[in-house]
């Protein structure tokens, strides 16, 4: 009431009919006398109304601002390790392009169909056209490997998402099948998104996937094969009681997606985990079920890491501490560690950590909390273009296999012009590195070797500052396995030379200038998709850096900065350090397949996938070089190069399926 008094117009306060002298002599005194109390009343009520309005407005604005932040159980503790949030954030940036347009003043390369059609891969999985993203529900059933994927049937950009489907006998030769699931229910009307398969005890299959409802709420749905006798699993049925899970209290409707494969708990229930976030803390929710239709949510999380943002495509699985085979998702025991992996929405990096799972309460802790999932220093499957990855247990050969979405690094105009966008990486086996115990090791599935045609062996000494052409005819489809060794004399000389500065602590592939910057002990490696004058090239190399106390640290990098003249392409330098144990030689494997290059160092301890779009180094003009850009050190390179056949991925027709069945 006090406020309203203050805001009352002064004249109103003065216009007390009993006190005012004017009113008595005024001819309109009667009317004025009647109007004054009314005016006063209006003034007071307007004043009150505006204040109430103003207060309400502030209150609702606060509410709308906070609508995206749920302040429930906000126990984010300060973390000293920096999050990977903005480092390497979506490499595409038109800032880079501005600089290019300004500096070089060269005309942008106008893509033509010849150059664009070369980009299509020969042996990587991709649909015949249009957009693809996350791998979904991979599994092996009745003799066939099944692969599902996020697919846009209408355009070469993300949208209108449905589940594409393909089968293969060997993870390499694929036949495309009809779309498995479309957005035909209210609970997935806005998108049939990512999901995972689980095998039940009776050998049947259930698929849990995220649907975006007609109101754009993210929910989890159950689906299963219509006919388990059909080895091609062509048709899928959605459970009539969908959705089976909706965002729980405290979780926003758009932060609830990508359910995992389920694993058995010690009391015989099935357990799944789903990534989410609370404010900026990435989390993984846990649910138990017996029938995949009703679930109990745990009060505790599988795990959480502050400042890592939304966790997409969470994956959770056991790895053996001692053996090299893969393990079924339900395996547990003293000889087993568990991996938690998540795709970080903020940075588009996939991170994982090795840790211990506690089945009694469905929680997990990392072995090394300083490199916890999503932290900038934590491990990544791949240091290049690699996201939304998912593993499955291949019961056929006892392996755990990793799929990953490899997006484009070019402009969408080019994607639209060429009519497609995105690839899958070559499926990789995943095991714990039994020698270090701290990281995973990945390797292209052995079936890819069936594509190897003729090979050539080379053993050469590469002096400092030299680039040597490798005579292999066509160089757009290659499998290279190489071993490098820095000559002992060079190594001793450099280690003994005090004037050679220790740089291991400062060096990073991304920031140290790329393959043209010469160091004492590197860079050396291969230059792929290079034209004969090296005007376009993609070097993949080791950089050995001297550390303090004369220890050596080895880095594995891919430099795409000069991979193409085109300036509407993102051209980063990727890489990371790679553990090299005593007595090990430096080994590298490279798969070249047109616009994708996959590099593996030390048997797959550090992997880098890159997308490259040369304009000159294509078709017959693409060459291979081996190089050594070190200042003084000589390197011996011993390597084998195979020409790779095409995998001849087929559209669906009877003959194609029959042909594959025969192999």
């Amino acid at each position: 009431m006090a406020i309203s008094d203050a805001l009352l117009p002064i004249s109103a306060r003065k216009e007390d009919p009993l006190l005012s002298d004017e009113s008595r002599s005024d001819p309109n005194a009667e009317t004025r006398r009647r109007k004054r109390p009314v005016k006063g009343f209006f003034a007071v009520s307007f004043g009150l109304l505006f204040i109430a309005f103003y207060v309400a407005l502030i209150a609702t604005h606060d509410g709308s601002r906070r609508s995206n932040d749920v302040k429930i159980e906000d126990d984010e503790t300060a973390t000293t390790s920096s999050p990977a949030r903005l480092a390497g954030v979506s490499e595409k940036s038109n800032d880079q392009l501005w600089k290019l347009s300004g500096e070089r003043n060269t005309v942008a390369f106008a893509w033509n169909n010849s150059v664009l059609s070369w980009q299509r891969t020969a042996f990587h999985f991709q649909p015949e056209q249009n957009w693809m993203n996350d791998p979904n529900g991979p599994l092996f059933y009745k003799g066939w490997y099944h692969f599902f994927y996020q697919y846009n049937p209408n355009a070469a950009v993300w949208g209108d998402i449905v589940w594409g489907h393909a089968v293969s006998k060997d993870l390499i030769h694929w036949v495309h099948l009809p779309i498995a699931m479309v957005a035909d229910q209210w609970y997935d009307a806005n998108g049939v998104w990512t999901g995972s398969a689980t095998f039940l005890d009776d050998g049947s299959i259930v698929m849990l996937y995220t649907g975006s409802t007609d109101k754009s709420v993210q929910v989890q749905n159950l689906a299963y094969p219509e006919d388990l006798n059909d080895p091609l699993l062509l048709k899928w049925v959605k459970y009539s009681g969908n959705p089976v899970l909706v965002p729980p209290p405290g979780i926003l409707p758009k932060d609830f997606r990508d359910p995992t494969t389920a694993w058995k708990t010690s009391d015989g229930k099935w357990r799944i985990t789903i990534g989410s976030k609370i404010n900026k803390t990435g989390i993984s929710l846990v649910y138990d079920t017996t029938d995949f239709k009703t679930y109990e949510k745990h009060d505790t999380l599988l795990h959480k890491v502050p400042n890592t943002g939304m966790w997409e495509c969470v994956d959770f699985y056991p790895v053996s501490k001692t053996a090299v085979n893969g393990l079924d998702t339900s395996v547990n025991g003293p000889d087993v560690k568990h991996i938690v992996k998540a795709s970080m929405d903020d940075t588009r990096f996939d991170h994982y950590a090795v840790g211990t799972y506690f089945d009694s309460n469905g929680t997990w802790i990392p072995d090394d909390p300083t490199v916890d999932v999503g932290m900038s220093a934590s491990l990544r499957y791949d240091y290049g273009k690699f996201y939304a990855s998912k593993t499955f247990y291949d019961q056929n050969k006892g392996r755990r296999i990793l799929w990953s979405w490899i997006g484009e690094s070019d402009s969408e105009a080019a994607d639209v012009q060429k009519g497609w966008s995105s690839l899958q990486g070559i499926p990789r086996t995943v095991v714990l590195d039994t020698k270090t115990g701290k990281n995973l090791v990945q390797w292209p599935v052995e079936e890819i070797e069936s594509l190897r045609l003729n090979s050539k062996q080379f053993d050469i000494e590469v002096g400092p500052g030299s680039v040597v052409p490798v005579d292999v005819d066509s160089a757009a489809q290659l499998d290279i396995e190489a071993e490098f060794e820095i000559k002992k004399e060079s190594l001793d000389k450099i280690l003994g030379d005090a004037s050679v500065v220790a740089e291991a602590e400062e060096f990073s592939c991304q920031k140290s200038g790329g393959s043209t910057v010469r160091g004492a002990l590197g860079p050396f490696g291969f230059s792929v998709l290079a034209d004969k004058s090296l005007s376009e090239q993609t070097p993949i190399y080791f950089y050995v850096a001297k550390g303090k106390d004369s220890k050596l640290k080895t880095f594995f990098c891919t430099d795409t900065s000069r991979s193409t003249f085109a300036n509407d392409v993102v051209k980063p330098i990727y890489g990371s350090s790679v553990p090299v144990l005593k007595g090990e030689k430096l080994t590298m494997r490279i798969l070249v397949d047109h616009s994708i290059v996959e590099g593996f160092a030390q048997g797959g301890r550090t992997c880098i996938t890159s997308r490259v779009y040369p304009t000159k180094a294509i078709y017959g003009a693409a060459k291979l070089f081996v190089f050594n850009n070190a200042i003084d050190a000589t390197v011996t390179a011993s390597f084998k190069v195979w020409q790779m056949n095409s995998a001849f991925i087929h559209p669906y027709y009877e003959e194609a399926v029959r042909a594959l069945s025969r192999t």
């Binding site: 003034a43 402009s411 012009q417």
Partner: protein, 163 residues
């Protein structure tokens, strides 16, 4: 009566100030505060939009600017026939903005997978820069392409708030 009017005006100003602060708070986190505020203030939906809504308003601005630029490009074919090659490439790039980037961004932002929206928005800036580069420094479209890049940067910053 005069006093009532004064009070009404004062309170309305206070109300306006508090309405603007959601837009201002958001725009402070973008690379171009003034551009951001002017774009959002000029749209009637701006005052009551949440972050997602603000992002969609800006995507709409991108769409409008792309349409305007395409019109300009079409007009230039006759006036500057010597630039035909560059204009053709620009036309292709701007059609991509309209037919691919904008729909992708709208769908992604509305459905809560903003990262695809970020890709679309970034690409709008890339396409504009490529188009500009086609003219080897003598572009007739510079203010339009620069504008697209600036709006793309601001929009991207807001879309990232949704991640």
């Amino acid at each position: 009566m005069k006093m009532v009017v004064v009070v009404v005006v004062v309170v309305m100003m206070m109300v306006m100030v508090s309405e603007a602060s959601m837009i201002e708070q958001t725009c402070k986190e973008t690379p171009d505060f003034n551009l951001c505020v002017s774009l959002l203030d000029s749209d009637p939906r701006g005052s009551s939009a949440d972050t997602s809504g603000l992002a969609l308003i800006l995507v709409d601005k991108i769409k409008g600017l792309a349409t305007k630029t395409l019109k300009e490009i079409n007009g230039l074919y006759k006036k500057r026939p010597e630039l035909r090659q560059a204009l053709y490439e620009c036309s292709r790039r701007y059609k991509t903005i309209l037919n691919a980037d904008v729909p992708e961004a709208i769908e992604a932002i509305s459905k809560g997978v903003p990262k695809f929206g970020e890709d679309g928005v970034i690409d709008a800036g890339v396409e504009a820069a490529v188009c500009e580069g086609e003219f080897k420094g003598k572009s007739p479209l510079t203010s339009l392409t620069k504008s697209m890049q600036k709006i793309s940067n601001v929009t991207r910053a807001i879309v990232r708030m949704l991640l």
